[in-house]
Amino acid sequence: EPEERHFQEKVDADIRIEPRDWMPEGYKKTLIRQIGQHAHSEIVGQLPEGNWITRAPTLERKMILLAKVQDEAGHGLYLYCAAETLGISRDEMTEMLLSGKMKYSSIFNYPTLTWADIGAVGWLVDGAAIMNQVPLQRTSYGPYSRAMIRICKEESFHQRQGYDIMMKMAKGSEAQKRMAQDALNRFWYPSLMMFGPSDANSVHSEQSMAWKIKINTNDELRQKFVDQTVPQAEYLGLTIPDETLKWNEEKGGYDFAEPDWDEFFDVLKGAGPVNNDRLEARRKAWDDGAWVREGLLAHAEKKRASKVAAE
């Protein structure tokens, strides 16, 4: 079809697709799924870090963490807005999250057990997220691309803050070092999982890459992440929990062990019990907040009505 051909030509020529432009149904559907999932991840991702706001060790750390979690809520907003340009509302997407029809990144089904985990989340989880997001600044869909540009600017700041926490811990007392190493042990493999299963086992990949919704393969990004992170761990004096990790001169990157993909799929499907806490927290926020949303809406209606009457 000519429309489809014209669309693909624009994509190939790096011309942004805008909301009013014609686009294939599959493109739209895939984008809604991907942007929605990303937005949900920002929202659910508030929880593991929010868990430590009331326990942050200094006033400054508390403010930095609070500001970071606030940024995540902001990122959620940008992304919901981007998805809304595709004809789906924020409330619809929220309902789909709560009913389990839409997913969020399964990294957030891992708990933050110590303060060092807050460092590890910033360093590793935000690090992996940026690795995924930077190329998406060049994604074909305009609103999505512009949201990613804003987000990436803030994310790299977050990653530096996370690394800074790890640094303080790794160069601190024995107990702090142990805490930092423990955090790395628990977050290493879940971080590797963030890039998704190996491309061989990944559905949708090829079409998404043609549409420039996906820019790099999962394995490319994972390799890049490992290559970037290993020297950072070394600088901290921490040990990556992978005995097989080794520099491979030939490929110019590290060889490393795959995460346990059975666990990944288990946790993704919600079999891991921790995701119950996350969804319950979001459900409770949504249900408990219904009267507030309705109350404020009703008041706005009244005001609008009386304004119209006065005119």
Binding site: T54, T58, K62, Q70, L77, Q176, K284, A285, V292, E294
Partner: protein, 255 residues
């Protein structure tokens, strides 16, 4: 009964502890608010309050002259040494209770800070200058939300009225005046809380009327107050177990 300490130190603790404890409570909402925009707004309020905390407690430490930092004061005192009013310790309750508590405090805070802009203590005047702007913005937001919920649906009206009934007597504690207040007022450092009461009443009752809410008849029954540490709710201790956990479990570390 407790050793007398410098009234300016005491007064600064009151300012800092109110901001610290309320900031803590508000930050508990993070990720749990009724709507994303509120999540962001509440985080913003908490951030402002924690920023004010730092300024007040840092100065308190300097006035005390024992080398304590704002963090030392925030994280290494037990409940009895806190000087905040009971209002700010109360659990968040539902969103209505949180926002009503915020509003009742915000108006007091703004009036107090506005008056402190002309403090004879220039450091206090400087802090107040900055903080008053934030407080004015807080009032704008919390007042709007209280009015919206009061004049919203039947349920939102009932809930915010319940919140007012619970919180009103606690709010009266804000205007208890003691020797510390008198001394600070006499020296032109910080206004006597009683001097703010009429303005507070006029403004708050006006907004509550617009919100179609009824102000209950209730007063603060205890003689001791959080301001002098003779009274607190049992909630404060539980806040501290969380807030101070890391500093207590791993004393003297860098974070």
């Amino acid at each position: 009964m407790t050793q007398k300490s410098d009234p300016k130190f005491e007064a600064l603790l009151r300012l800092g502890d109110n901001a610290l404890i309320l900031g803590h409570r508000v930050s508990e909402w993070c990720g749990h608010a009724p709507v994303l925009e509120e999540d962001i707004a509440l985080a913003n309020t908490a951030l402002d309050l924690l920023g004010q905390t730092s300024l007040w407690l840092e100065y308190a430490g300097e006035v005390e002259g024992k080398g304590r930092s704002a963090d030392d004061i925030a994280f290494l005192r037990d409940a009895w040494d806190f000087r905040n009013v009971l209002l700010v310790e109360l659990p968040n309750g539902d969103f209505g209770q949180t926002i009503m508590r915020q509003y009742l405090f915000d108006v007091f805070n703004r009036l107090n800070l506005e008056a402190m802009k002309t403090s004879t203590d220039t450091r206090i005047a400087e802090i107040a200058e900055k903080a008053a702007k934030e407080a004015a913005y807080h009032v704008e937001r919390s007042e709007g939300t209280v009015i919206g919920l009061g004049d919203g649906t039947e349920e939102s009206h009932r809930r915010i009225q319940d919140a007012l009934n619970i919180l009103w007597p606690y709010a009266q504690e804000l205007f208890i005046t003691d020797e510390v207040d008198e001394e600070m007022a006499k020296a032109g450092v910080i206004p006597d809380p009683k001097s703010l009461q009429d303005a507070w009443n006029a403004e708050v009752r006006g907004a509550l009327a617009e919100a179609t809410l009824e102000v209950p008849e209730a007063h603060f029954g205890h003689r001791g107050s959080g301001k002098d540490g003779r009274m607190h709710t049992e909630h404060l201790g539980h806040i501290l177990t969380q807030m101070q956990w890391l500093q207590r479990a791993y004393p003297g570390q860098e974070w």
